[in-house]
């Protein structure tokens, strides 16, 4: 665990010196920023506040093959990622790194999920502290911070001309060594601390989550959900772009004799998510689906894993086309008059 630094103009050099790793970094893809494998270090951008699509896709890809097989044959060929591969995510924001630590609970609960966990194990996370949180960030309310170290192997600060890198784990040290970073002194670490503190003060939005997990179940039948669900499009933006949303679908796909079983992101906002084969849908309208999304994040998940499934990255607020504002829902839920859960 040490302090390192490198000059800003050496960024491309540092990235190309990581030959041992498969490196992912925020890269513009058209007009949006996404974590892509670094092919050209010059294309990497650290300018954007955060990637549009969260880096959860690096551990839990949009579509991933579980196993392959040939039709008519019973041999199954699992596509489990290699746990000993070396992958590195460069420039991940602290909120997204913290999201991994939350989702870990789910994928290691009871049955372990080798696909997700192997990737987690083989990946080094080099974070990038936020100097300038965006309009809808509220990470401090969720136990994070613009310079939170949760889940990270190293944390990088932008100090004008140089990047100061603080390594936090052995994996982080290995990265610093591989990249050949220079040692940093007290001046840099002081500056970083100051920046972290300032950034914390710049976070505009907040929510006091105390009592919410306990209260939400009592609002099961409450009409206040309709204020939001009435204008919900029932699309997948809020959940697909959420770094902690982890629901998926499993489908078999066959082409001639080659086939695979794959899993892909799915969202509780789609009507077909819960519909039974009989046609009965336990969540028939957007009211139930909106309620489930919020309750799952803020009540069901904490009940099971003791942590709220939200990191305050603000993506669901930023990207909602009809301005369904998570914080607004939570505030209204606090004001709403709850009642004891209805007995059937």
């Amino acid at each position: 665990m040490g302090d390192y630094k490198f000059a800003k103009d050496k960024l491309a050099e540092v990235l190309s010196s990581l030959g041992d790793y498969q490196v992912f970094a925020p890269t513009p893809a058209g007009d949006v920023v996404r974590f892509l494998e670094v092919k050209d270090p010059a294309a990497v951008t650290l300018e954007s506040a955060n990637s549009t699509v969260p880096p959860k896709e690096l551990m839990f890809p949009e579509t991933e093959t579980l196993f392959k097989y040939r039709l008519g044959d019973t041999g199954l060929d699992p596509s489990v990622p290699d746990a000993s591969a070396r992958r590195l995510v460069f420039g991940i924001r602290p909120c997204d790194a913290m999201a991994y630590t939350i989702v870990d609970n789910l994928f290691s609960w009871d049955f372990t999920d080798p696909y997700y966990l192997n990737r987690r194990e083989n990946t080094t996370l080099v974070g990038f502290a936020c100097g300038d949180p965006c309009a809808n960030c509220f990470c401090p309310s969720m136990g994070g911070a613009p310079a939170s170290e949760k889940g990270l192997d190293a944390l990088m600060f932008d100090l004008g001309d140089t990047f100061y890198v603080k390594t936090l784990t052995d994996k982080g040290d290995a990265f610093a060594k591989a990249a050949g970073l220079d040692a940093a002194g007290d001046a840099e670490s002081k500056a970083a601390e100051k920046q972290a503190e300032e950034a914390l003060g710049k976070v505009k939005r907040s929510i006091d989550t105390a009592g919410i997990p306990e209260k939400l179940p009592s609002l099961y039948d409450h009409p206040f959900w309709e204020q939001f669900s009435d204008r919900c499009l029932s699309c997948g933006i809020c959940t697909f772009l959420c770094p902690t949303c982890h629901c998926f679908d499993i489908q078999d796909e066959a082409e001639a004799f080659n086939a695979r079983r794959a899993r892909m992101w799915d969202t509780c906002m789609f009507a077909e998510y819960t519909v039974h084969t009989s046609g009965h849908n336990p969540r028939p309208t957007r009211k139930e689906r909106t309620r489930n999304r919020i309750s799952h994040k803020y009540s069901y998940f904490p009940e099971k894993f003791d942590v709220i499934a939200c990191v305050g990255c603000g993506r669901c607020i930023n990207n909602c086309p009809v301005n369904i504002d998570l914080l607004d829902i939570l505030e209204k839920s606090k004001q709403a008059e709850g009642k004891e859960a209805k007995t059937a």
Binding site: L233, L241, T285
Partner: protein, 326 residues
């Protein structure tokens, strides 16, 4: 300019009627240049209604988005009307929904809002960053943004959505009552962007779309926000037969987008909502506008302007062009 008080009072009057179930309009958003659709069911909520250039969403979408629960045995279905506030472009959606007989005309009360343009939140964010304006209004040829007791005047093209710059229907084409006076038309649409795109070679076109389609995360917001996408079960959600797979890759993404654009050919009313909502900025309207242009050229048909028209693909003309048919 619309007098908000008058608008809200009118809305109150409408929603208080016994035969009106809900009223769809716009309300102030929670941050930045956002506005949000609002479904008013109680007169007390009518005070939240606004109308200004931030009101981008198409309320007509919410007529068909509403999911009906099964009516419990012994109860009558709620047949009360839906009132909806529409801008010029939004009203075309209602016309087209009526053409397709999505619901009977008497089920909706259309409150027309002649409109001189709405802002593009991406342009606004680029200009102003993460701030919340106090007021946005149109004043003559300028857009006036009040911000921290300062006012900034902008040329309309700098902040208004592209669709507004070429708008040909600023006044609602269908309405029971206009809330303000009709505005003067200004736009013309020559489909220059389509012509420009068509100059590309097939290989270049595919290169462009391959990059765009690869970004798609299949959140289906473009489908859900579309006032014309109201099938009870979308073909991409069907499992039996499963035409489009749920996995995201270039093949399925391309198939989805081509299907979507095809299904909207002769139906797209160019409210541009699909492109606005796309979280990964796919220029979806480039496909739709091509179809709109071709439909107009080949079949002399424009969707969403005439309630009496027949849906394009539900009719034919023996003299239809067939130049590529062998």
């Amino acid at each position: 300019m619309v007098d908000l008080k008058e608008l809200q009072d009118k809305a109150k009057e409408v929603i208080s009627r016994d035969d009106v179930r809900r009223l769809i309009g716009w309300q102030r958003g929670t941050y930045g240049f956002e506005s949000a659709p609002i479904v008013v069911t109680d007169a007390s909520d009518a005070d939240k209604l606004i109308f200004d250039p931030t009101c981008v969403q198409n309320p007509a979408s919410f007529i068909t988005l509403e999911e009906k629960r099964p009516v419990p045995r012994g109860q009558e279905p709620d047949t009360r009307k839906v009132a909806v506030m529409v801008k010029g472009c939004d009203s075309r959606a209602i016309v087209q929904q009526l053409v397709e007989k999505a619901y009977p005309r008497e089920n909706v009360i259309v409150m027309g809002m002649p409109c001189r343009g709405v802002i593009d939140r991406r342009k606004a964010a680029a200009l102003f960053g993460d701030v919340t304006p106090d007021e946005v209004k149109l004043d003559g040829d300028k857009v006036v943004v009040s911000l921290n007791s300062e006012t900034k005047e902008l040329a309309r093209g700098d902040i208004l959505a592209d669709k507004c710059m070429r708008c040909r229907y600023p006044n609602p084409l269908v309405s029971d009552e206009l809330m303000t006076e009709e505005v003067e038309k200004w736009g013309a649409d020559e489909f220059a962007d389509v012509d420009e795109f068509e100059k590309m070679s097939p290989a270049d076109k595919w290169k462009f779309w391959e990059e765009q389609f690869s970004k798609c995360i299949r959140c289906y917001s473009c489908r859900n926000v579309c006032p014309m996408c109201y099938c009870v079960e979308c073909v991409v959600a069907k499992l039996k037969p499963q035409w489009t797979r749920r996995s995201t890759d270039i093949s399925e993404n391309a198939a989805y987008h081509v299907q979507r654009a095809w299904h909207l050919s002769g139906r797209c009313i160019e409210c541009m909502e699909c492109q606005r909502v796309c979280p990964v900025d796919i220029p979806i309207m480039t496909l739709n506008r091509k179809m709109t242009r071709d439909v107009k050229e080949m079949f002399d048909y424009e969707p969403g302007v005439d309630v009496e028209a027949e849906p394009l693909l539900a009719c034919y003309n023996p003299q239809d062009p067939e130049d590529y048919i062998m």
